[in-house]
Symmetry: C3
Subunit: 339 residues, 3 copies
């Protein structure tokens, strides 16, 4: 971890735990200052921290405690295991489909014609792969994930259960009181190392591909509209929605329940606070909050002022009355001169 040990470096650690729950033999960490109060009383045998602190446990000092702790958790516990192997005869695999070496396919999976699945993938029960879809190497698709035809999935992509990739989006041309469905000629491209949460929806593009960039991660129930371009390294927290044709740069962070309107251009490294609604283009590095969203620092102050609106109204009314009284009794200068 490239860390420095403060205390007995020979202590034996077998598992990870939170500061408040940890017992002897466990390691914990501090990354969020809300939990700093637990350092002094933790029963953990070791803690990963950024700065030395008054704490009974052995301290491992590192620059990025959450990252170091993540590495330790992988070492001690590994990632989620998959309790099946081989390609089940209970799956329905079209004879024109190709399946890479070492790929595991569970019962009740459907792989449609001309689909291509890479090596060492894990396809859980109920996964559907549409015609001509392509899945890279080392992907994990959890149960009941649906990949529509033509979708392109890169390497090391993880999709949690019940998510839908490549459905037709909300494309209807209204004429004569009828909403006419437009064909979705574009596909969905999930680039390498993308992770999609559970119950998410990523719509196919109408005219060009919807794209989710390398290493971008989403929470659950996220909806990515048709034609949206999400850059690499973005974090889209649960219940975020991005309307059609908008583009996000790289390393944007959209907190929970954020909505991005359609046809917008959002720059790189943009941060949008939870529940915000973005209705206009945002430059690189913008940090915004609100609905409609604007500069986060200003917006936090402005939104917290909503609380005082009734008081402002009262004070304004009082001022109007006082001023009117003053106006009625005041002797203007010219009148005074006439005295």
């Amino acid at each position: 971890m490239n860390g420095r040990v403060a205390g007995d470096g020979s202590v034996r650690i077998s598992s990870v735990a939170g500061l408040a729950q940890a017992q002897a033999g466990q390691i914990s960490f501090l990354a969020n200052s809300r939990y700093a109060k637990f350092l002094a009383t933790t029963s953990a045998s070791a803690v990963v921290v950024a700065e030395p602190s008054d704490c009974p446990a052995v301290q491992i000092l590192v620059k990025n405690p959450y990252y170091a702790f993540t590495q330790i958790a992988v070492l001690l516990h590994g990632h989620r295991q998959h309790a099946f192997s081989g390609v089940s005869s209970g799956a329905s695999i079209d004879c024109s489909a190709s399946i890479g070496e070492g790929t595991r396919i569970q019962d009740f999976v459907v792989i449609s014609q001309d689909a291509r699945i890479g090596r060492r993938c894990v396809l859980y029960a109920g996964v559907f792969i549409g015609a001509d879809a392509e899945i890279g190497d080392d992907c994990i698709l959890y149960p009941n994930v649906v990949i529509y035809d033509g979708v392109r999935v890169g390497h090391r992509v993880i999709v949690q259960a019940n998510s839908t990739i490549g459905e037709d989006g909300f494309g209807f041309a209204t004429e004569g009181g009828v909403h006419h469905k437009i064909p979705h000629v574009g596909r969905v491209v999930l680039e390498d190392d993308v992770a999609i949460g559970a119950n998410c929806s990523v719509q196919s593009g109408v005219l060009y591909d919807t794209r989710v960039g390398c290493g971008t991660k989403t929470g659950d129930s996220v909806v990515i509209g048709h034609g949206v371009q999400v850059g690499p390294g973005c974090l889209l927290v649960s219940q975020v929605g991005i309307a059609g044709s908008s583009t996000l740069g790289r390393y944007c962070v959209l907190a929970g329940q954020v909505g991005i309107a359609g046809h917008l251009h959002i720059g790189n490294n943009v941060v949008v606070a939870a529940k915000s609604g973005v209705s206009e283009d945002l430059p690189d590095g913008a940090k915004v909050f609100g609905a409609p969203a604007f500069d986060m620092k200003q917006a936090l102050k402005a939104y917290s002022s909503i609380k005082s609106l009734p008081e402002l109204r009262r004070r304004l009314k009082a001022l109007e009355l006082r001023l009117a009284k003053l106006e009625s009794v005041t002797t203007p200068r010219d009148e005074a001169l006439q005295v």
Copy 2:
């Protein structure tokens, strides 16, 4: 398309594309003025537009470019194809169910007792049709769509993957600290030409049917509560939620992430801007924004004023100080008279 051609009407077109991406041999369109800047430089061979413009491509002039373009996209590309035919022996179909002529049913579909499926339907893998449910003709149910028992689905209805139609809603009577579940005696009725997005939920009614009117379309992750009546021709964008027993008239548009409280009456042709929360009845033609929502024009102005709240507070404070000073130094008229 009933359009007028400006330019060489003999140019050959093979596919559709966006203005910025189009190449020779492709046709594009302009419906959103944000993209007007691309007209002058597009490489498309033809464009569908409402008004003539400075553009190197052949122009097809029509009243409704998006609709005309939709027709062209259907002609050139057709709608999504389905890579299977017939009724799979790998489906589980109760012997009491009836299946119409030309209907295609993939592996791992379940059709329960007394269910009735119309003609020329397409049921993808993992679709579940409950007992006594009825599906009309020419419907498409994408993988893992769940239709609960008793649901009524009209003709030409499309449901995208992983959506749930007819689950019990949030109906609990609380007594003695226990939330007692109420049976949902009503069903869900999806009328003709309804389209439901991916990962949506439409709850069965408690006392009467939940109904989604003819030609209404929804985005993804939309939730329609128990007993809700949605009129014909409505557009419910992704992540909209409508709480129980509310009614919407015809041709309403609810933008992304809108919430409608329960037991409300929303009129015809109502438009609700994105992220709004509607908490009271709305008359025909209302256009609203905000949470709680009110008149859209007023609300856009009012919400954009939130930004200036800290400044308003400062100005109000300054006024109070200046007025107090003035009050303390001013010679009222009666005192002046005494001078």
Copy 3:
């Protein structure tokens, strides 16, 4: 029902209906005063009410009409029936799994190694039960519900279709521009009598179990983040999201589309109005609204004042002009003395 009958107690009732829709032979109820107007004209043969009223139907007077009516609905209609029995040979059940007596399992269900299913459960088609997961007695899992490995489900739990329990949450440590996935060592525990809606997601904990307390109910598309602790008896309405590591006490009510930020402590009996965003700890009994949320009574007043912001700005501007004018013409007292 422990009710008092006003009218002919011998009238025969065969089914339930809403006040406005009910016919002879049906019983209805009044719990929401919005519907009181229908009492005078209902065609129901009987109504369950809290207070006597001018109504042509037989009245059953009870303290809690909705609860009494729920009991009647159960008596007359029963809960949802399940149209299959036994354990299907078309399910895929690991030989190490245990299945309790009377449990029904439909086609295309997967039960993984060492999973334990209780007695009298109903597992619909497409349900996936991960390795070492445990389901109590009398549970109902609707089609395509996914239970990840290790999840603990109590007795009498109901999960509606397409919901996901136990997926990995949004846990990524960012280092060197890469978001590194942290293993989720915790599980999900759904205690007895929990009901989960359709298309919901409950994430496994990173360091300790995510827990949903006894008798808590959720609507559809609800997302419960990793490590969240929801107390007993809570009501989480559709599209609610609770970010990681937050805790809710008992009997909290979160209305539709509410978001709770991460790492918060929400007390007992807290009520959060629809669409609110909670960004700080809340004590027992707090009632809040807004984003960020604060005291509900104040917030409803404050948010309704947003409408008048443009008018406040105009009035403030007018005051400033009037005051400036007054300042310019007023003879201060000391100058007046010099006159």
